[in-house]
Amino acid sequence: MPFVNWLKRNLVVLAGLFTLAYLLLPNIIVTVFSFNKPKGRFNYEWQQFSLDAWKDPCGVSDLCGSLSVSLQIAFWATLGATLLGALIAFALVRYRFRARGAVNSLIFLPMAMPEVVMAASLLTLFLNMGAQLGFWTILIAHIMFCLSFVVTAVKARVMSMDPKLEEAARDLYAGPFQTFVRVTLPIAAPGIAAGALLAFALSFDDFIITNFNAGSTVTFPMFVWGSAQRGTPVQINVIGTAMFVVAVLFVLVSMAVGNRRSRQKA
């Protein structure tokens, strides 16, 4: 029974591809339906092919405004979380100090906490302080929950770095600051970049925490949430598809650059 044998050998491959299909099916639907021309307010059923939405992606009021809010928040949250997180990561890997266990728990807990709990408790704080909910409260919340992920990413990179490199720099007349700027930072850069990318993605796509702490500010995920109740414009699918394509292109290009570089080296 050669077929049964083949099946046995490749069962794991088939199962894996099934999972991959499951993962990608929604993206395919999103893309296909970005060319739809729905009859009613909701874009859940296929009607007819149309490029209308692609020609006019900002045609729905507030959509591009919310996109811009999301991008701004993601940018500043990435900057803040990366800066604060990288400093913590360096401290954790390079120094011995008291309260190390407590610091580690404080980093770990936000990642082990359901978002809704953090969202609700942060809202309690803001309400108690009488803070005006909006752009700033969203930004504060995003920096808070992105921080731990940045620490983890940077820590992994700095940990794999040979401490002898920093000693060599100090031996070669670089003071503490020079050592950090000339040696530590460039070598840790890939980890910092990975952390920053993760922070950007997390912040840009966050809904739950934002929903609690946004006040009347509308980010892109909140716009989508709202439209799920009021009616989903096709433009949402256009934006979703565009983000997917941009992300894939970004990764492909960076991989191609990386490949070419390593081929030059070889």
Partner: protein
Amino acid sequence: MSTLTEAPPPLAPDAPGPKPPRRRGRLTPYWLLLPGILWLLVFFALPMIYQASTSVQTGSLEEGYEVTWHFATYWDALSAYWPQFVRSVLYAGTATVLCLLLGYPLAYLIAFRAGRWRNLIMILVIAPFFTSFLIRTLAWKTILADGGPVVGALNSLHVLDVTSWLGLTAGDRVLATPLAVICGLTYNFLPFMILPLYTSLERIDGRLHEAAGDLYARPWTTFRKVTFPLSMPGVVSGTLLTFIPAAGDYVNADLLGSTDTRMVGNVIQTQFLRVLDYPTAAALSFILMAAILLMVTFYIRRSGTEDLV
């Protein structure tokens, strides 16, 4: 030439010997930690305290709230919303198991069988992240639409009969049933299972498989005795990364479910943002947090991998 004189006896620890001359940089780590830790203390830890305090307050929105150590709120919240709690655990648990069953083959495929396709498949796993998860979750409304091809296929295969009998679906519908919510949860958190699994599988030396085969282990035995145990760290962190957010999620239950599929996240959200019953909402949130922390601690102890961070 070189000289070596008799070394003096070692100094007793408390002898007034020469002190270490340099004490530079003792404070450096604290300066590095300060801003980030302060941020977490003020915007993560402090809110928890506020929440705990809110949960034992009484009063009303108009008259204001006061701490009265009213622990009955907890009891009231639990007795009113225990079905949602149970549902959260059941849905999240089922979704986690499904994620493991679905995610393991794919992680294995990427780690050992993908060859030159490895990077491409990795990109395909990660790239959906960049399309807002709400948009992708809405797509499931189309996929699982009544009378659509997926529901039709499940119906003709009599799968829906089984799921109806289990109480997961109702009649010919999938949308607005527990199955749809679990399907959405599984989909949304699947990458959080695949990535840690892949990381731990990738570290396994391929020669171990050859060694196991050389020592008369059949492929399935090799998997059971070598591969799976070595991938345990990935299994543990994957299940945690899936279960925790799934248990607190309210998006899938809201978009794909009905009022009968409401989870604890939905209740907290409604109490906080619509009903404005802050003490109940805070108590619920606190119970959820405590329950998850307890489960996580127990789970990590049991699986013997305490160095997850």
